[in-house]
Amino acid sequence: MIWLVFAFAIWALGWWINAWLAALPRTRLTRLAVPVIFGLTLIAVWEGIVHGLEISPILLPAPSMIAMRFVASTAILWEDFVQTVIKGALSGYVLGCGTAFLVAILVDRFDFLRRGLLPVGNFVAALPVIGMAPILVMWFGFDWQSKAAVVVVMVFFPMLVNTVQGLADSSVMQRDLMRTYAAGYWMTLLKLRLPAAMPFVFNGLKIASTLALIGAIVAEFFGSPTRGMGFRISTSVGQLALDLVWAEIVVAAVVGSGFYGGIALIERAVTFWHPSQRH
């Protein structure tokens, strides 16, 4: 009971502080502090509820327990991180986004391809990739290569569709201007279409960044060496080590958010000119 009251009190306090901060003029500090306080509040409420309702740690461990496990298992977490994130997700992300970008330029160049490939692409993009995972594991083996392949498949179409859309985004007038200069295809691509496509390209990159990690982890459920975040999660559930499972999830969330944030930062630098970046 005390714990529940504690949870509720923390919630009220956190909300009150945030409401107060949000009413202040926006600065870099408040913009950072508000979501952090919100997150801390959530965690405190979670802690309170787990203790208050006496939820079994096998169903939902308390944040304090997860934190302790996290500290105690950094070596394992690091090993899994390298296997899944660096080898699986990152390589697949780079490969998938890279090829999608090049294919997008090709598709954009040939109208025939655009009209033929995009509808088919939309169909293929609707494939639930979860189903592709066992197949790709079968094709590419157990190690990180198959994880990278799953990631490639997952990120390819969002990236392709966004880039193609972006390449078509320049206005008629902007393109006419290039014609008045008698600029050729490559000149127009380089000086107009690619810069104009950047907001879309980054949109694709951001979507792909959350997909990449999920893809790599999910693929590990269908066969893996004895390391990796997906491996650890599924094995640990079997061993009822839920605290380790959640520690892995924390790593995934932190890495995923960091990845997303990093790309958003680059986006800010590259597409500084776009109205959406100027409030």
């Binding site: 006419d176 201007l177 014609r179 008045t180 200069y181 008698a182 000086k191």
Partner: protein
């Protein structure tokens, strides 16, 4: 030989509402060094006609030659500079970068580019704004940058589509004066679209009045005004006389009333 010569130009847009006759049997000759204004109600085909000259639109009938060759060849030879109705600067390039754009495409040397950018920026009184991005400038300044961009390379023909539409009267007067000076100095041939009767009369050696549905030329007025034109010329009877004739021409072709 005329710099621009249109013979019986027809242009019909196919739309899902049926065909739109944007131009019908339009014939016009523009000689070297002329300053020709196009005036007419909204939708009468002024922009379309200018775009035909620039090979941005393809007539469905008739003939158009620029510098004695087809419009397409003239475009490929980079015979003209075009100023669009809206400024149309690339937001990811600075003002300087925008002006440099055609020069890069046409392969000017680095030092030549720098000199030209500086010169045209001074011409439109934007010196010191080279490093700014378009959205950091007012609409009028952007419009001037876009004019500078069209002037930066050596084209003898200047096609301008309502370049001063977004500007207030005083700035507009000023730029009108500047444009006249530039034209007198460089002997360019200029085709100029406007909505403003005083502007058309003040600037032009020839005023083409158009009317819509289908777009055609209803009147061509040769201006009796001298080449030297102080702003006060707008209060002279000769000026008002021409303005009156333009207004009558416009009113006749106007669908309203």
């Amino acid at each position: 030989m005329s710099v621009i010569s249109a013979q019986h130009l027809d242009l019909t847009f196919q739309t899902n509402d049926g065909p739109v006759h944007a131009l019908r049997d339009v014939s016009l000759n523009i000689e070297k060094g002329e300053f020709v204004s196009f005036i007419g109600p909204s939708g009468c085909g002024k922009t379309t006609f200018l775009r035909c000259m620039a090979d941005l639109e393809h007539p469905t009938g008739g003939q158009i030659t620029v510098n004695g060759v087809s419009a397409a060849e003239a475009r490929k030879a980079r015979a003209y500079g075009y100023v669009f109705q809206a400024a149309g600067l690339y937001p990811w390039r600075t003002i300087g970068g925008n002006i440099r754009l055609p020069l890069e495409i046409m392969g000017y040397s680095k030092s030549d580019m720098d000199a030209r950018v500086e010169r045209v920026l001074e011409l439109v009184e934007l010196a010191g704004f080279e490093r700014k991005f378009p959205w950091q400038l007012s609409g009028g300044m952007q419009q001037r940058a876009s004019i500078a961009r069209a002037l930066s390379f050596d084209a003898d023909i200047l096609l301008m589509d309502e370049p001063f539409g977004a500007l207030d009267e005083i700035v507009r007067d000023h730029l009108n004066e500047q444009l006249l000076k530039l034209w007198a100095r460089t002997e360019k041939t200029i085709a100029f679209v406007t909505h403003s009767i005083p502007e058309a009369v003040y600037l032009s050696t020839k005023i083409v009045v158009m009317s819509p549905r289908p777009g055609r030329i209803t009147d061509i007025i040769d201006s009796p005004l001298p080449k030297e034109r102080p702003l006060d010329i707008r209060d002279t009877p000769a000026f008002l006389e021409v303005a009156h004739r333009v207004r009558e021409g416009l009113r006749a072709g106007h669908s309203h009333e």
